[in-house]
């Protein structure tokens, strides 16, 4: 049975202001879903709520992973259940080398690897095994190995930060990955690069929820499902043709349609 992320009639507010007004969505391993929508439609709120940011309050509805509710669970618990969020604005953590951070994260999410052998020797073996994995993944996402020693996101360019997010995803191997505007702020070459890496990674083992304002990333990643979010609701769902329609006509028409139905 593939893992699923299921969102049921989700209503979310920030500081008393309702942002999501009843969202329904189901993403399974192996599927790629794109959620598109104009600015302020609630896309990033959805991403942050799914991962458990404390600022976002779930007023009603539910979020389920494999049928189990995760509402109220802290972000680390959600990560351990196989959820991953690639941040729109990854945070800089000074003094923490990327490799060290990833090893801690890997251990937390995947469970403690038991050192093979005793004491410092066993520790060395697991450390070396992790380094090998990290080197492979750095290559996959086309990052210079020197990044492993740099402090987490500190001084990274916009494109490097986004690529580092994909690297983290590649290491943690989530069941469901939420990509929050991974294409924003990147030039077209960087978008293509990030998208290529992401499509290589998306396979039967991973479901993707791709949140984006623009259609351009969808040139390189082909979603089976496209959803349009307007004013805190998923207003329309369809296939790739819906994304093309939005690209041609923009969001105004669908916003007007949505306004008319309220």
């Amino acid at each position: 049975m593939p893992s699923t992320l299921e969102i049921k009639d989700l209503r979310v507010s920030i500081e008393g202001k309702e942002i999501l007004k009843g969202v329904n969505l189901k993403v399974s391993q192996g599927e790629i879903h794109a959620v598109m929508g104009p600015n302020g439609s609630g896309k990033s709120t959805l991403a942050n709520t799914l991962m458990g940011h404390p600022k976002y309050k779930v007023d009603s509805g539910d979020i389920l992973i494999d049928g189990e509710s995760i509402v109220g669970a802290t972000p680390d618990v959600r990560a351990k259940k196989g959820l991953f969020l690639a941040f729109q604005y990854p945070l800089e953590i000074s003094g923490v080398p990327l490799a060290q951070f990833l090893r801690s994260a890997y251990r937390s999410v995947k469970g403690e690897e038991k050192p093979q052998g005793k004491g410092v020797g066993g520790e060395m073996i697991t450390a070396l095994a992790f380094k090998k994995k990290l080197d492979e993944k750095l290559k996959e996402v086309d990052m210079d190995p020197a990044f492993a020693k740099r402090y987490l996101n500190e001084g990274f360019s916009g494109g490097e930060k986004k690529r580092a997010e994909i690297l983290q995803m590649a290491i943690l191997q989530p069941k469901i990955a939420i990509m929050d505007e991974t294409d924003s702020g990147l030039d077209i070459d960087a978008v293509r690069k990030v998208a290529e890496v992401l499509s290589n990674m998306a396979g039967p083992e991973m479901g993707v929820l791709l949140i984006t304002h623009y259609q351009r990333i969808l040139e390189y990643i082909k979603p089976q499902f496209v959803h349009v979010m307007v004013s805190g609701r998923i207003f329309r769902s369809g296939g790739p043709e819906l994304a093309r329609l939005l690209e041609e006509k923009g969001y105004t028409w669908i916003e007007q349609e949505a306004a008319a139905t309220v």
């Binding site: 991962m51 458990g52 940011h53 404390p54 600022k55 802290t74 972000p75 680390d76 959600r78 990560a79 351990k80 991953f84 969020l85 941040f87 990854p90 945070l91 953590i93 000074s94 003094g95 923490v96 060290q100 951070f101 090893r103 801690s104 994260a105 251990r107 937390s108 999410v109 403690e112 520790e123 402090y151 987490l152 983290q168 943690l172």
Partner: protein
């Protein structure tokens, strides 16, 4: 170091004390002239030292407590023990050390550390150094590394030439107290042109309740020599107050390079009032790397006097203040010669109502042209009950001095925590990781095993910060 690695350390090893320690000499509480005389007599010291101690005692009695810094009102000098000696003789090898002391050091892991990393180990148990060794090849080069009492007996000329020349008893009340009752500490002499490639290390430890510890360390690096001395301190936990008041003097002769690294982790009842000062002569470099954890109150401002042209000074200080702790720390640099440079970097973390203070002095004397100096202090507050203050004093008497001062106060943001937690780290692991990252500019200057130890200590201090 990952946060996870750090978690499985049994930290109870620092919270023990020996019940059956038998003391050769143990005086009643409090201090008077007779006790000072008696200390000198037991140590069979030359008359000049006896007189030095008495002169220091007299000054201690009439000198006021500092009118600034932390709260010293509950410090009761009459309740302290000023001297205790567990064994009369010093042991040359580990085998000769009495079993109960050995157990203590075993718990601290010293012999293993020595095998792997150390050039020489001086381990101080109460007032007397009971174990001392120096790798033979170092000794052959003429390097002296022994406890200060032994150096006074065996190397009287060089001892007398430098002792108390950097910190006179009249410097402050605690320097006077130390000068009156000092016992133990490390004495290092490095001959001209010798590079001591491995760090020299000493461990200090307070075991007896209300035991004052007054070690005296003197380091002389002769011309164009190089040495790194490391001192680690731990104290078991007692409910009443103890006093640690050390004096450290460093003389870096022309072209010499001295680094002095300390990580102190005192139990919460210790007053840690230390005077550390270095003279850097022409083209010499002195570096203080100073980490302060634990204690009730620490007042410590490692200082460097840049006496000769081209001398360099660097002070790297970190402080971690938890509940009911005040870390009043910083650094002093006095530029007395042209083209001297200095850098002070201070990092502090306060939590659970703890308080950190940065107190620094930058002095550029008239005639010291072409001085460059950088001061940077960063404070991290982990909750709204904690406090941090910065008191930078600048006395710049030359117009062409290039000085910069930067100070930041940070808090850990909700978004940073969310980011780390979204990768599977618990809230406490995420907090620890941010704090360890904040301390990293300091940690990376430490030898590996000290860096690991410091991260363990931070991890331990962070335990229980959540919820």
């Amino acid at each position: 170091m990952s946060a996870k690695q750090v978690l499985d350390i049994d930290y109870t090893k620092y919270n023990f004390r020996d019940s059956d320690a038998s003391y050769e000499y143990k005086f009643p509480k409090g201090l008077n002239r007779e006790i000072v005389e008696r200390i000198s007599q037991i140590k069979k010291e030359p008359d000049w030292m006896r007189q030095f101690r008495l002169r220091s005692y007299d000054h201690f009695m009439k000198r006021h407590l500092p009118m600034w810094g932390g709260d010293l009102t509950t410090l009761n000098f009459d309740e302290m023990l000023y001297y205790a000696s567990p064994t009369e003789k010093k042991s040359r090898s580990w085998e000769e050390v009495p079993a109960y002391i050995k157990q203590t050091f075993d718990k601290l892991g010293i012999p293993e550390a020595e095998q792997k990393f150390l050039g020489g180990v001086g381990a101080q148990y109460e007032s007397e150094v009971v174990y001392h060794s120096l790798r033979e090849d170092l000794a052959k080069k003429g390097i002296i590394f022994k406890d200060t009492d032994t150096a006074l007996r065996e190397n009287p000329d060089i001892f007398k030439k430098y002792f108390s020349t950097v910190v006179p008893p009249e410097d402050n009340k605690f320097a006077a107290l130390n000068s009156a009752v000092w016992s133990g500490g490390s004495f290092i002499y490095v001959p001209p042109g010798i590079n001591v490639e491995v760090p020299l290390q000493a461990y200090f430890r307070i075991n007896t309740q209300n035991m004052g510890q007054f070690e005296r360390t003197l380091i002389i690096a002769d011309e164009n020599s190089r040495v790194h001395y490391i001192e680690g301190c731990t104290a078991p936990i007692y409910s009443t107050d103890s006093l640690h008041s050390a004096v450290v003097e460093i003389i870096a002769r022309p072209g010499a390079h001295v680094r002095y690294t300390t990580i102190q982790n005192w139990s919460n009842d210790v007053y840690n009032l230390v005077t550390k000062r270095a003279y850097a002569h022409k083209n010499a470099t002195v570096e203080w790397v100073d980490g302060n954890l634990g204690s009730k109150l620490t007042m410590k401002y490692p200082s460097i006097y840049l006496l000769g042209e081209g001398a360099k000074g660097e002070i790297l200080s970190v402080a971690f203040a938890g509940k009911a702790q005040h870390q009043d720390a910083g650094g002093k640099v006095v530029h007395l010669a042209p083209n001297t440079t200095s850098r002070i970097t201070s990092k502090s973390v306060s939590k659970d109502g703890g308080r950190t203070t940065y107190r620094g002095l930058l002095h550029v004397a008239k005639g010291a042209k072409g001085v460059k100096s950088t001061v940077r202090c960063d404070a991290l507050l982990l909750d709204e009950y904690s406090r941090t203050d910065t008191y930078p004093y600048n006395e710049i008497n030359e117009d062409d001095a290039t000085t910069t001062h930067e100070a930041t106060v940070g808090k850990i943001g909700e978004d940073q925590l969310f980011y780390l937690m979204s990768r599977g780290l618990s809230e406490q692991e995420a907090l620890s990781m941010i704090v360890m990252g904040f301390m990293e500019p300091f940690t990376k200057e430490l030898p590996m095993e000290y860096a690991i130890e410091l991260n363990r200590l931070i991890q331990l201090e962070m335990a229980g910060s959540v919820g």
